[in-house]
Symmetry: C2
Subunit: 412 residues, 2 copies
């Protein structure tokens, strides 16, 4: 994979130019994308900035995020060729930092559950996950050092786990969603994919203009970590259980205290209501598409929105109350723990391209708005990751705990 931090080090050392770094990506795309099919479009002649802390960094932008110089097609024929007027706020921020928004990446239609044509970079017979399929796969295939995704259920952390890349779904609204196609305004969260935890930490610190998020070398590492299985979401596969156990032992070997923890019942209650909030808002956000282009929606999105028409405001308000109570319970819980450690996905990427996998271990944390980091766990077969979670607004702590586990796993 291409590491953002490594590329920037080479540029700062003068051994690589920004244009040369972009060219590396172009070559990797030419070699890998015919198989991986992660990209919807690539800028032919990008302006490459010589200055800025992300100069030379080519970024993949999920194709529900507006770009002024490439179409934004939402993964849907309804938006075939659609050219937004301006760039999304986060794309403007990337450009201001010197990065190049080089390519648009595949997305499930409207960032929902349908598969894309993208294949898993580790085995083309498996899904890369979704809905941020192209962004996870492009980084996993070594085509790009950074990519933007979004998560409403589990659309960042799950594909990161399947593709063996680091990713962060930051605290809710740390990155602005202006210019990002809405499915659920209470849930939609921009996230980042990178080769390792340092890479996404550095990118997030710059994008959010909060230097404290960045990892500091030599930081003392004895966090108190709660290990949670999310029983309410069902059991994980054996390989995911083994990965979680390896991550636990790695954390302990690095000085962390890991305690088995049962989550308070309010969290299970909120988890069970995630889809009500998502779909009640989704039916409003996609009302124009549903009323005018029902026949052009995929069967799954069509059925999802059909069912959503029956949700009542009372159900929605009740779900929001449960989420509110759960956020308070989680805040209390974090007074005893620096981070939580849990599954990123039920197992490795499922075989075939017919499904993007199951977001059941991700939904709660999206609803809670807390920062979540996927850490790949090295192993023999397809990638499996674990998820590190911190309190709302403490993205730096989630990343520090994730980095501790990542380093410890590399030593095992």
């Amino acid at each position: 994979m291409l590491s953002l931090v490594d590329i920037r080090s080479r540029i700062e050392a003068g051994t690589l130019t920004p244009a040369g770094a972009i060219q590396l990506c172009r070559e990797a795309i030419a070699a890998r994308d015919p198989t991986v099919r992660a990209l919807v479009s690539v800028l032919a002649e990008p302006v490459v900035s010589e200055a800025g802390p992300l100069a030379g960094i080519a970024v993949g932008v999920k194709d529900i995020i507006d770009t002024a110089d490439l179409p934004t097609q939402m993964g849907s024929s309804i938006y075939a060729g659609w050219q937004p007027k301006g760039d999304a706020a986060v794309v403007m921020r990337l450009k201001a930092l010197g990065a190049v928004a080089l390519a648009k990446t595949t997305t499930s239609p409207f960032a929902s559950i349908d598969p894309t044509g993208t294949t898993n970079p580790h085995d083309a017979g498996h899904t890369p996950g979704g809905s941020s399929a192209g962004s996870a796969a492009a980084v996993g295939a070594g085509m790009l050092p950074l990519a933007l995704g979004t998560q409403t259920g589990g659309s960042v952390i799950r594909p990161a786990s399947f593709c063996g890349v680091a990713a962060i779904k930051p605290s809710f609204r740390l990155l602005p969603t202006v210019g990002v196609k809405t499915f659920s305004w209470a849930l939609d969260t921009l996230g980042l994919f990178g080769a390792g935890v340092r890479d996404v930490a550095h990118a997030l610190a710059l994008l959010a203009d909060r230097p404290a998020i960045d990892l500091r070398d030599g930081e003392p590492g004895s966090p108190r970590i709660g290990l949670v299985l999310q029983d309410f979401a069902g059991a994980a596969d054996r390989l995911a259980m083994e990965a979680l156990d390896r991550a636990r032992r790695a954390a302990e070997s690095a000085g962390a205290t890991v305690i088995d923890l049962a989550l308070p019942d309010q969290l299970a209650q909120a988890w069970a209501r995630h889809a009500i909030i998502q779909d009640f808002e989704g039916r409003q956000a996609l009302a124009w598409e549903y009323a005018n282009h029902r026949e052009a929606l995929t069967e799954r999105v069509g059925r999802q929105l059909d069912a959503a028409q029956n949700l009542s405001a009372a159900q929605y308000d009740d779900a929001r109350r449960h989420a509110h109570h759960a956020r308070r319970a989680l805040k209390d819980l974090f007074s005893d723990y620096d981070a939580l450690l849990t599954y990123s996905a039920p197992g490795p990427a499922p075989q075939g391209l017919g499904s993007t996998g199951d977001p059941r271990f991700n939904r709660l944390w999206t609803l809670m708005g807390v920062p979540c980091v996927n850490v790949p766990v090295p192993g023999a077969g397809l990638p499996v990751g674990v998820q590190v979670i911190a309190r709302f607004g403490d993205d730096g702590r989630a990343l520090a705990a994730a980095r501790l586990i990542e380093v410890a796993l590399s030593r095992v």
Copy 2:
């Protein structure tokens, strides 16, 4: 003015058809808009629904709200002729209820502070206020029974006060802002203008699909109301003070208990930081326009965004913390009061069209996310209104208290 409730009664009684009701608006527009200049565009051949609880209701849509069949120009030359692909979520909801989104209404560029060409329907030598200038003026001039505006500082309640119309800025995110041009995602709130409190209550109950918001006749009316002067925002003009006093006495005559109330200091602290949140987010939301079309911005918006470049994430985070503390203090305060009563604006509409007036009595409540209703106070000169406020999520209570005051004022 055209009352939504009256029009619907006539349609339900069979003495007016939906098409006839739309025609009434067309005639009023032909008579009044050459002077008031509230409308940017009008649909030539709207589809008029025969069914639905808002059939026959012509609606004005602020021109920062996407419409699929009329351009959406943001009050800015940058968006001259810009045609969005779809309708905003709230426009789709209006259509689903049978209403006709008949006209786009003038807006300050990007819903900021510049004046539009619109005049006050009560005196063309005065401003109608802003930024929802056209929506307030169109209803005040009797051209439309319902109009949509947005408020980030005071862009619904202030023009409603200046134009002598009822309006509600509902609880934050009760109405979806999907498809509405963003200035500040933490503040931007859709609001409604109508002839009277019953009209906006009925429209909001339908739009939000929450029947409990609608006013019930014969509701017992002895609310406990706190009267607040918002000293931290400076003093109001004599005419605004007199209007507030008349509203107080009217409320008391109708059985309300009105208690003079000093707001806790946390609220003054939050008020002082409103602009930090607004402008820190505004610089991100308008980053594409600022970087690519700086010269086409108005002088005021250009200066506002210039200054915003210097705001730090630390200032923003501090402002959000203050807002969070203030929301808690306000929630506590509402355990003792059903509603608050305060100024809608510092006085009647200022003379001339060079300024849209001052939002200083509105900003706090936008930041708090609580429902605010403007009630016109009958008097001799230009209109003056008062503002009735309830706790977050209790829009029905704000409207009930506002209706009590409206009825009592009509009896004085």
